[in-house]
């Protein structure tokens, strides 16, 4: 267990160092939430019940998700291009644990989106950005990171299985913003998409964050949301852990771990 944590910590640190110098990911963490935050602030501020915190939270989540999506999948292709993918797969360390560390490192980096989104609301638009339930919000943020982490764990199997996955990533950004209710309620979507939303940990993360920011839920209600979030996250983890093993076996079968 301790050895696994050490592997995860080492992988997280390495990933943080790699993403922190990536202009592309800095764009995803800062510039993209800026544009999305500013746009949606203008688009939503005429609502009678407008609360700028809603936009700040939504923009922050969009930044977290975009960085996770691109850094998470590119972690595999980056290792492959460096020639280190074979080396790490052939090491005794569990690749699942190692990749878990990478996702954690990515999320640590992407937290800058949260700060930046707050700055947009508070300094650019000069809105009072206050959170109605700070403790509930802080805990919800922690659970949100767990939710995103669990969802991000699916990317490695995709990246190993499918070298061209990077070509299709752009298409997963907006659908998750939409299906998870980051910046508008999912009830605006067709009713048949609701089960998809409910199965997504980021959806429950958005519910908890929005609700605690606006003081809409008391602690028991929040706890129920966190519980569902954890259940969906655990289910996703079980799926991804199985997928990891299957995908690595398949990659060993096909010889597709190397670049060539």
């Amino acid at each position: 267990m301790i050895a696994a944590l050490r592997v995860a910590r080492a992988a997280a640190e390495l990933q943080f160092r790699e993403v922190a110098v990536s202009g592309f990911l800095l764009f995803g963490a800062l510039v993209q939430p800026f544009f999305i935050g500013v746009m949606t602030m203008f688009m939503l501020r005429h609502r009678p019940d407008f609360d700028p915190v809603y936009v700040v939270v939504g923009a922050a989540l969009s930044g977290l998700w975009s960085v996770l999506l691109f850094a998470g999948t590119s972690a595999i292709s980056h290792e492959r291009s460096l020639g280190t993918l074979e080396l790490v797969v052939a090491s005794p360390a569990s690749f699942f644990v190692l990749y878990g560390g990478k996702i954690a490192g990515t999320l640590a980096f992407s937290l800058v989106s949260v700060v930046f989104s707050y700055a947009i609301g508070a300094w650019l638009f000069r809105y009072p950005i206050t959170v109605a339930d700070p403790v509930g919000f802080a805990l919800s943020l922690l659970f949100a990171l767990v939710a995103l982490w669990a969802t991000g764990m699916l990317f490695a199997p995709l990246g190993i299985l499918w070298r061209a996955v990077g070509q299709f990533l752009g298409v997963l950004e907006y659908p998750i913003y939409s299906l998870s209710g980051f910046l508008f309620p999912v009830l605006l979507l067709p009713v048949w998409t609701l089960p998809v939303s409910y199965a997504l940990p980021p959806y429950w993360a958005a519910v908890a964050l929005h609700a605690s920011a606006r003081g809409e839920f008391d602690l028991p209600a929040l706890a129920r949301v966190w519980a569902v979030l954890l259940v969906t996250a655990v289910l996703l983890m079980l799926v991804s852990s199985r997928l990891f093993l299957a995908v690595l076996y398949r990659a060993r079968r096909a010889g597709s771990l190397a670049l060539t």
Binding site: V7, R9, R17, E18, L82, E86, L87, R253, A254, G255
Partner: protein, 323 residues
């Protein structure tokens, strides 16, 4: 115990070509390879490009699963018990890739030490020791992107020794190194072998295999075509002499004439700057010179030498070419 056992290993790669209509093509990389390497041996695996050497190493290092057949490393199955094998082996694939170029040499080693489960208090001293062994102490804190090819190769060797593996796989470790760097690396390898590490080495440098390896396996078209000590392999060519002719602008028709002579075993042409070195294996040795020169009429001949067959000649006889 055998460090390595391969029984009738087959490995087929399936590739697809074409765009609208996709065609599947099977490439046979290993075609019934069987091999045993006892613990503590320094074993050389030779063969031309595409013979199956790297595929064999990748199967043994658990990166590739054979299509059929069984493979064992230190008694563990390469397919089902990969985790046990990974703790006990190390490997270096030649080339400059395989390092985190934004990290320093020392940080690369520390990272891999974590992956290999080296005890935390051992990591520091072990990294220092290995950097000293491979001569990178002074450059340890520089980013790998500034390292030369030789330095990267040495760092790879240090990486592979972090967890004190029982079996080492070295896939063309001296390729691209300058002569001094290559010699230093060979010394490290032979010292490791002297300490009891089993080493499987693939190389294109036949003199290297001749000097270092206790036994050599020659692989071609996915199976073993010869196996033995360097002396045993050379004994297969004691009947052969080699005539080397330096030619300027050799005519392909002349080479065909040489090949057609009944006392000629094989003809290999190597390009060296503006001239070609034509190496003819023959049972006649000095007596072959005159008919060979006659067959090369019209070509401008430089130096002519007659010598005994070496391991390289034995290799050429086995695989029919030099690369």
């Amino acid at each position: 115990m055998n460090a390595i056992e391969l029984h009738d290993i087959h490995r087929i790669f399936r590739t697809t070509t074409g765009t609208i209509r996709r065609h599947r093509k099977d490439v046979v990389a290993l075609d019934g390879l069987s091999l045993e390497v006892p613990e503590g041996e320094l074993f050389g695996l030779l063969g031309p490009n595409g013979a199956g050497k790297t595929t064999t190493i990748k199967i043994l290092t658990t990166l590739l699963i054979p299509t059929s057949g069984t493979g064992m490393v230190l008694g563990f199955d390469v397919v089902r018990e990969a985790k046990h094998i990974r703790k006990r082996i190390g490997f270096v694939f030649g080339g400059e890739r395989g390092l985190y170029y934004r990290l320093s040499g020392a940080d690369n080693l520390r990272y891999f030490a974590e992956l290999y489960g080296v005890a935390p208090r051992e990591i520091g001293p072990r990294v220092v020791e290995l950097l000293g062994l491979v001569g990178l102490t002074d450059r340890a804190d520089e980013r790998v992107e500034g390292y030369s090819r030789g330095m990267k190769q040495r760092l790879h060797l240090a990486r592979t020794l972090l967890h004190r593996p029982r079996v080492l796989f070295l896939d063309e470790p001296t390729i691209g190194l300058d002569p001094i760097g290559a010699r230093e690396l060979r010394k490290i390898v032979t010292d490791l072998h002297a300490e009891g590490t089993t080493i499987v080495l693939t190389t294109h440098y036949l003199f290297e295999a001749d000097a270092m390896c206790q036994r050599i396996g020659v692989i071609d078209h996915g199976h073993l075509v010869a196996l033995g000590t360097p002396s045993e392999l050379k004994s297969n060519v004691t009947d052969l002499g080699v005539v080397e002719l330096e030619v300027f602008g050799v005519d392909p028709a002349a080479i065909e004439r040489l090949r057609g002579l009944d006392f000629v075993d094989s003809v290999v042409v190597e390009q060296r700057d503006l001239r070609q070195l034509v190496r003819v294996q023959t049972q006649l040795a000095e007596q072959a010179v005159a008919p060979l020169l006659a067959a090369l009429r019209g070509s401008q001949i430089g130096r002519v030498a007659v010598r005994e067959a070496t391991l390289e000649d034995a290799y050429v006889r086995l695989v029919g070419r030099v690369e």
